[in-house]
Amino acid sequence: MGVTEHCVAEEERRVRANAREYNEKFQYASNCIKTSKYNIVTFLPVNLFEQFQEVANTYFLFLLILQLIPQISSLSWFTTIVPLVLVLTITAVKDATDDYFRHKSDNQVNNRQSQVLISGVLRQEPWMNVRVGDIIKLENNQFVAQADLLLLSSSEPHGLCYIETAELDGETNMKVRQAIPVTAELGDTSQLACFDGEVICEPPNNKLDKFGGTLYWKENKYPLSNQNMLLRGCVLRNTEWCFGLVIFAGPDTKLMQNSGRTKFKRTSIDRLMNTLVLWIFGFLVCMGVILAIGNAIWEHEVGVCFQIYLPWDEGVHSAFFSGFLSFWSYIIILNTVVPISLYVSVEVIRLGHSYFINWDKKMYCAKRRTPAEARTTTLNEELGQVEYIFSDKTGTLTQNIMVFSKCSVNGHSYGDVQDMLGHKAELGERPEPVDFSFNPLADPRFQFWDPSLLEAVKLGDLHVHEFFRLLSLCHTVMSEEKSEGELLYKAQSPDEGALVTAARNFGFVFRSRTPKTITVHELGQAITYQLLAILDFNNIRKRMSVIVRSPEGRIRLYCKGADTILLERLHHINQDLTSTTTDHLNEYAGEGLRTLVLAYKDLEESYYKDWSERLHRAGSASEAREDHLARLYDEVEHDMMLLGATAIEDKLQQGVPETIAILTLANIKIWVLTGDKQETAVNIGYSCKMLTDDMAEVFVVTGHTVLEVREELRKAREKMMDASRSVCNGFYQEKLSSKLTSVLEAIAGEYALVINGHSLAHALEADMEVEFLETACACKAVICCRVTPLQKAQVVELVKKYKKAVTLAIGDGANDVSMIKTAHIGVGISGQEGIQAVLASDYSFSQFKFLQRLLLVHGRWSYLRMCKFLCYFFYKNFAFTMVHFWFGFFCGFSAQTVYDQYFITLYNIVYTSLPVLAMGVFDQGIYTSILMFFIPYGVFADATRDDGAQLADYQSFAVTVATSLVIVVSVQIGLDTGFWTAINHFFIWGSLAAYFTILFTMHSDSLFRMFPNQFRFVGNAQNTLAQPTVWLTIALTTVVCIMPVVAFRFLKLDLKPELSDTVRYTQLVRKKQKTQHRCMRHAGRVGSRRSGYAFSHQEGFGELIMSGKNMRLSSLALSSFAPRPNTSWIETLRKKKGCEGSSAGSPSGAADKTLKV
């Protein structure tokens, strides 16, 4: 992304609504995006300049200049200029097309439409014209895509507005934003057009949860906070429309500020290649020096005397100077060891692999209709090297769909699929889902597989009825009924939505609510409960309750919450039931389901009166209101009766656990980095089998100070040390003192680490990061929760920095962009609403499970092929070039070439299209070149033709050596080709055919007649190749070159069949056995872990509902609406948000800690 930097750092931002002229003088970043680099005029010079910045190109330019010096030129200039021009052209064409597409996509993005209020009229304006200070209209389910907005007004009462921020922070629950009251009244365009308030606020920054500013309007000051902001990347939900004032646009938006810098990614093969090329270059210089010295000596000993027939060149007066010149001559000749085409060939191969990835049917998602896409073509072989995967949770591992999957009512568990095997396969053998047709209000999308639950409802099981009644009453869901019977629930967390929907389908339909009532259709009968109180959720309480009065007048408290909390608050007569339910809970938790325990309690009228009186008083207290309320809530939620438990499945993406298992088998470590809560994250960890109950221990780090975090990390490490000490004593000596030793990694037993954002911030400090990394890397699984986008990137950076391992980051939302950019390889999940992640990624596909194929199939193939290719490439060039070295000893080190110069020019060009699937062994090259030269030498030393003429003339020799070379290299490639497909046949035979065709063309009479000075080898091919001796020589050379290779490989294969493969194979077998063990134990295991709770929502909604603020006037009119005593609920909401940020870790210990904040 072309983030244009401001020259002067902005200190504060002044924005006046509807005043473009005023705002223009500040020159704020606009929404116009420009990522293209060239235009038609600048293309050629700029592109050439860029290309010659590459060392390789400059090097070849240098060679070209050398070749133009006649004393040095050992090869005519076109041997270099042809490939150089070819390379430059190909690159230029590629750059041009890239830039063309960039122009196109820029245009597309810039011209996206948005509704902008201009001089009192709403107009469809292209994106790029949206300026700071404009007022924009957004509609439901629309992405806030253009800018960070100040919410002015909305369709909902009180200027409320619901947003989903999954793109931004990965949290799945809905959040509420409110316009400040004065602007909330500006409902229509004419009013808004007159709005001329001025906002003075903080400069652009990357803090997603903070905003500070003031609105000046009509002589008044209004403070602004994050609560009034709609950030770019949010999705508007449950709100028909809203208006917003653009505060930050384009690169200044918080999202873009968070996205980190785009770095140029290089693969390790690139680096290897560069070092290799450097070494080879050094080698080349060495050879040049040797030959130059040889030349100087020769000229001194022989050349001086030979001057009668061959005088020295003009200007050459000493053997030493001649040697100096011949050094450069040899540099030119020998440059083919580092051929220019290497870089191009590598690019071509990578491009090919990218296409194979794009074409892969197995990475095509039919549901979303998106194929995989390799957006970067240069990283393919790195895929095979990945050691660490950093994954986002929401949308990547999970589908962000909650499904009511199981429940336990009165000691009876429902929801098991009536499948013989008991496992949930998505196959046809699955029975029909339960038929809810009896219920006209049922949600047709809801599916449940266990008919016995519905039967229990129909049979009138009171427990079951009470169970669903609770679900239909105890929640903060809002309902909307567009037409009769067409219910729409607006749930602020998907969990609650799932629960209420379940109750709805089983005949307990939550129909509507007012601040004081809840109307439920119980099995077709409308019953209105009086809502007396909502004891709201917060993450310390981990439960929520409602107190309702039934039409009969009975007051009952319904409560749902985390098992750890609720089970302690039950009446003691529940003991038996508790133990069965606990069993069920363990079972559910073992399957990775999110569980909730449901309970109720009947309240005496008198007690309630007293209690509510006290509640009222506490609520209006100005001091320690929270504590008072908490105490009161605590008091009433006691001695409850257990109803049962629910289990919600946070639907994983298809095949996630399997993929993770396989990736783990491949020794790839997977870290989950999520902005979501710890409980949710841990739960997902269990359901996708990253965490298992087999693990020796799951360390949870939730410290709030540096010391705490350090202590927790140290404890974790010590525990691991102790364990490994007992396993292998004496091996751990240097342990903590030595940095990042593999000691920790060799630890026996499986551990996992869970760390949350606060602690991570400390752990990432300079003096702790190594400690943290050591601990984390010793664990099999690492989960970081509540992390900000930048922290994600920091974690990746940390691993990159110290582990020197290849990292891959995968995510779907804008909050993953920074980590995607930081990792060696970034993968974006495509096919979803947001495209931020995809745009920043190197690869994109629509399902997490494709990662397996991408890494283990494509990555592996690319890597193997690239290695083979490089080896073969260097092999053939060494074989080719070293012949010159040996020839140097026989031609007075004069830098005479062995081959026809056309052969030199074409050797790499003809051959680069071919070796895509080839390989060879590096050092073989020299061996081959020796044979290649000395066998013909031996044969030709005294040979004569069959017509008596001499055979050992230079041209015949050249043809013989060249032909043997081509044949040997072809045989070698054939030998190395594992798979002979039609394409291989085509290229191998094709290149041989091409060689002979070109040979005969070059040596033809007609070419000689046209350019006698250029094509001197006239008639040579026909003459030479007609000699049996020549063919005997070629055959001999081929056999001698190939024979040892074959023998060696055969021995290797026969005696040590693919050592690495065997090891891998046995490892796999062993691990398979291990996992089987694990699975078996799974089945009959007694869970040690209680489930996390399933509330992924924010607190404050209960208050919101009771205040009636979020309800339409129409519904409010019906109720006797009495506003609660001056509780600025939004204030509470904001305050509580702070607490919630540090969701407690281990249920027992961390609860107190959170209170300290």
Binding site: V302, T944, D1054
Partner: protein
């Protein structure tokens, strides 16, 4: 790798639609028509499933190959060796470095010495030469393959191009012009033409007077052509004359005493060069060439021997479980 590949294909079966979306898979397919489907083509090439022949180096293929190569190479080698041995060849070094040589007096002769220094060498052929006899001159330590030497010629001039005759190529320097007159043939190669009698700077007479016969003169003079085909190695021989067999009854050259008259006017001593005269018969594979035959026999034997060794190793230590491992 081979087997992994196909196994993956089986195991990975195509995902059919998504969870909870019945017929989700069908949407992708049926959406065709007007909407361009983004689904990748299911072609063997794009899915990297091209039928492939996978050669594996097994005992069954490698060992026979070695034996066969051995069995082919040894007879060929023997054939070449025998043929080569049957060729008659006689070589005389007339450089005259040894004081006893009759040509010793001419050792330091210069190009333009007139009259030429002559010497006579007597030699005896112990065997008669039955078929056509080729007479070569040989030079050693003569760097016809030196880069500056090789390029010092003008092929368009030799091709008869008029402008090049008047203005020879720059490559010919310093033998391009002489006293502002172009040299033809120009360049170091032509200039240094080996000749018992030889007008470039070093030439005693112009190019059109190379031979008495008009058909064999100028640039198409055979001796000139032979010389202009530069040798690949510093030691080389070039064909000079052919002694044809007159009739079938008599050998071309009978065993006996001969004498070689040399007009010695090509100095080579300064750079340690040697001059030779070679008489040789030829066969189907050219002149005497013991190297090729020996090389073939050696390589053939090594192959055969390697075959035996590999067979032994294979039987003794060979991993017979290999095939059992691979299917997984």
């Amino acid at each position: 790798m081979a087997v992994n590949y196909s196994a993956k294909e089986e195991a990975d079966g195509h995902p059919s639609g998504g969870v909870g979306v019945p017929g989700g898979g069908a949407v992708g397919g049926s959406g065709g028509g007007a909407v361009k489907t983004r689904k990748p083509d299911n072609t063997a090439f794009k899915q990297q499933r091209l039928p492939a022949w996978q050669p594996i180096l097994t005992a069954g293929t490698v060992l026979p190959a070695f034996f066969i190569i051995g069995l082919i190479f040894i007879p060929i080698g023997i054939g070449i060796f025998v043929t080569s041995n049957n060729i008659r060849e006689y070589e005389i070094d007339y450089t005259g470095t040894e004081p006893s040589s009759p040509c010793n007096k001419c050792l330091n002769v210069s190009w333009d010495s007139t009259p030429p220094c002559t010497c006579t060498i007597n030699f005896t052929l112990e065997h008669s030469f039955e078929s056509n006899v080729f007479m070569y001159y040989g030079l050693s330590n003569f760097y016809q393959n030196h880069r500056r030497y090789v390029k010092s010629r003008d092929d368009s001039q030799l091709n008869g191009d008029n402008s090049s005759l008047l203005n020879p190529s720059k490559e010919c320097e310093p033998y391009r012009t002489n006293e502002d007159k172009p040299i033809a043939p120009c360049g170091a190669i032509a200039n240094s033409m080996f000749n018992g009698t030889t007008k470039p700077v070093n030439w005693p007479k112009p190019v059109y007077m190379l031979d008495s016969e008009p058909d064999n003169n100028g640039f198409i003079n055979e001796d000139f052509i032979v010389w202009m085909r530069t040798a690949a190695l510093p030691t080389f021989r070039k064909l000079y004359r052919l002694i044809e067999r007159k009739n079938n009854l008599q050998p071309t050259l009978q065993a006996g005493k001969y004498s070689l008259d040399i007009a010695y006017n090509y100095p080579v001593h300064s750079f340690d060069g040697r001059k030779r005269m070679i008489l040789s018969t030829i066969s189907w594979m050219g002149g005497k060439n013991p190297f090729l035959g020996i090389a073939y026999i050696t390589v053939g034997s090594i192959c055969f021997f390697l075959g035996v060794v590999l067979l032994f190793i294979h039987h003794k230590y060979g991993n017979r479980n290999t095939s059992a491992d691979i299917p997984n």
